[in-house]
């Protein structure tokens, strides 16, 4: 007699098996904590999903901004001061949509600014990105977008937007592949 059922288990498909076997999920003994202990992490909670993201402020070399930005911007531009941020060129949307002050607040340099003028902490920069990139934000919260840090085992840790995307130039660049298989070429030519 032909049966589509698996020999050992009464499941028609792996999805059925997953649904059934995860009903009594008790957790696992392994943890991924060891694998990101060198990185400072902060815990965030969005829509009941809570997970870790890397601390951002400690990673920005010239933070806090007010250490240099002690005067209004106009004065700093006019004076003969050392040039700064020469490496920043904005390639993010067009000028009708975005410029520096869409995200930065000249009055409050140490924080980011939402579209409505509210303050956003640099560590929560994903809140700034998610104002426009709502779809990506949904996927990121769930885990379909954004790279996981450490391992699959709990606790969940994820890269935040700015860990992969340069906020001033968020697109990925073209590059050469990491590998080229010369053996395959030989075999193909034979």
């Amino acid at each position: 007699m032909f049966s589509c059922k698996n020999e050992e288990h009464e499941y028609h498909s792996v999805i059925e098996k997953i649904e059934s076997e995860s009903k009594n999920y008790h957790g696992v003994s392994v943890t991924s904590e060891l694998y990101f202990e060198d990185t400072d992490m902060i815990e965030i909670s969005e829509d009941g999903q809570s997970f870790l993201i890397p601390d951002r402020k400690g990673q920005i070399k010239s933070f806090a901004c007010t250490e240099c930005h002690s005067k209004p911007l106009e004065q700093m531009q006019s004076e003969n001061l050392k040039k700064a941020h020469w490496d920043v060129s904005v390639a993010h949307a067009d000028l009708n949509t975005m410029n520096c002050v869409t995200c930065h607040n000249p009055e409050n340099m140490d924080n980011l600014k939402s579209l409505t003028g509210n303050t956003i902490d640099f560590n929560a920069s994903y809140k700034l990105c998610s104002q426009c990139h709502t779809k990506q934000f949904q996927d990121w919260k769930g885990g379909a977008h954004g790279k996981q840090i450490g391992g699959w085992a709990p606790p969940r840790a994820s890269m935040t937007c700015v860990n992969c995307h340069n906020p001033h130039k968020p697109a990925f660049e073209t590059k050469w592949p990491a590998r080229f298989n010369t053996q395959t070429i030989k075999e193909r030519n034979n």
């Binding site: 589509c4 698996n6 498909s13 792996v14 999805i15 098996k17 997953i18 076997e21 995860s22 999920y25 008790h26 957790g27 696992v28 003994s29 392994v30 943890t31 991924s32 060891l34 694998y35 779809k135 990506q136 996927d139 769930g142 885990g143 379909a144 977008h145 954004g146 790279k147 996981q148 450490g150 391992g151 699959w152 085992a153 709990p154 969940r156 994820s158 890269m159 992969c164 990925f172 073209t174 590059k175 050469w176 592949p177 990491a178 590998r179 080229f180 298989n181 010369t182 053996q183 395959t184 070429i185 193909r188």
Partner: protein, 375 residues
């Protein structure tokens, strides 16, 4: 030997034929090298009797059926006795012809012997698994002077590994391929790769006939998209069904693994896999000593030999320790999602429940645990 017209070689175990000439390594038949005593301490026949007694004892008095089904000692003990008797023999030789056999050589011989006759990993108890892993580590140490770390960690309860691949995100950088080769000690000379990244033309769908998996130009190329294939760790794996010696099987956490020491290299599994997930060692796999990953698992990236199958194990040495496979960790675009399908809060479960996922050749009923999805 001139009066021996046999065209085949046979072990001279049961013939009680007494040696007519008393020869030794020095080539002479009389005097000179002090090993030709006129009265040997033990005649050849007596020595043979003693060796057989020491090795299989009363077992030889039984008929074939009894030997198999009424074994008084387990195989391990039997081998130990047999090995001991062989060492007695070796000792006898060394006294007469001064062959120096160090402790290490003996240990190596013992290890090789036990490794040669060990059972299928699938059927081993945890102690036996530990035994073979310890032997392999020690053997590597004796042979190379280097220490490796090999695990025999079993599948954990409440874990079923699954994988999701975002074809919108993959840019074809092949960092995953590189990381995989380095992590899993794959043969450098034949440039074996478990992962293939296929460059496909936009608008043509998954057309493997026109896809290229060995491109070399800046990526992503205009008008193309990229998708990766590797072992999908099917829940109903056809490769496992066809193996004549059960050298490959599905573990409880869903990993489809190979016992490289049980595999006979028939490559049936390679033919049975609909996804080109399996690789064969046509030549002796070689990895430069400096590049060897010393963090190994018996079922994973330990060193392979010529003539056996291997494949992606979702980096069993990493995944069973809670880590992500090397390809997931290396991917710069986050196109690869790995996790526990039985954990309702895992990211892999979120992808399966919230994205439009599909698998390759789903109609075959192989139930791959490797899903594709798009943004």
């Amino acid at each position: 030997m001139s009066n021996n017209n046999k065209k085949w070689f046979s072990l001279n175990l049961n013939s009680r034929k007494k040696q007519t000439s008393n020869t030794c390594g020095c080539g002479k038949t009389t005097g000179g090298c002090n090993s030709h005593n006129s009265k040997p301490q033990m005649s050849d026949e007596d020595f043979f009797e003693a060796a057989v007694n020491a090795s299989i004892g009363e077992e030889r008095k039984k008929d074939g059926f009894d030997q198999v089904f009424e074994v008084k000692m387990d195989r391990r003990t039997a081998f130990k006795q047999l090995t001991a008797s062989l060492l007695i023999g070796a000792g006898a030789v060394s006294t007469s012809c001064s062959l120096v056999s160090g402790e290490e050589t003996k240990e190596k011989a013992q290890i090789d012997w036990e490794e040669q006759f060990k059972g299928n990993y699938k059927l081993m108890s945890d102690n036996e698994k530990k035994g073979t892993v310890d032997r392999l580590v020690r053997s590597y140490q004796i042979r190379t002077g280097k220490t490796i770390n090999m695990s025999a960690k079993n599948a954990e309860e409440d874990v079923l590994f699954g994988y999701a691949f975002n074809i919108s995100k993959c840019q074809g950088y092949m960092d995953c391929v590189s990381a995989c080769v380095e992590e899993n000690n794959q043969d450098r000379s034949s440039q074996m790769q478990y992962i293939r990244i296929h460059e496909m033309k936009d608008g043509k769908g998954f057309n493997f006939n026109e896809a290229d998996d060995n491109y070399y130009h800046e990526v992503p190329a205009e008008g193309h998209f990229y998708m990766g294939t590797q072992c999908f760790h099917c829940d109903n794996p056809p490769c496992v069904d066809v193996c004549p010696v059960q050298a490959t099987w599905r573990e409880d956490d869903g990993l489809v693994v190979v016992d490289y020491d049980w595999c006979v290299g028939c490559r049936y599994c390679m033919a049975a896999c609909p996804y080109d997930g399996r690789r064969f060692n046509w030549s002796k796999p070689e990895v430069p000593e400096a590049e060897i990953n010393h963090n190994q698992h018996y079922l994973g990236n330990r060193m392979r030999k010529k003539g056996v199958m291997e494949k992606c194990t979702f980096c069993v040495q990493r995944s069973r320790a809670g880590k992500n496979p090397a390809c997931v960790e290396a991917c710069p675009t986050g196109a690869r999602v790995f996790g526990n399908l039985l954990d309702p809060n895992s990211t892999i479960r979120w992808v399966l429940e919230n994205k439009k996922v599909f698998r390759l050749k789903e109609d075959l009923g192989t139930e791959p645990k490797f899903w594709y999805y798009m943004d």
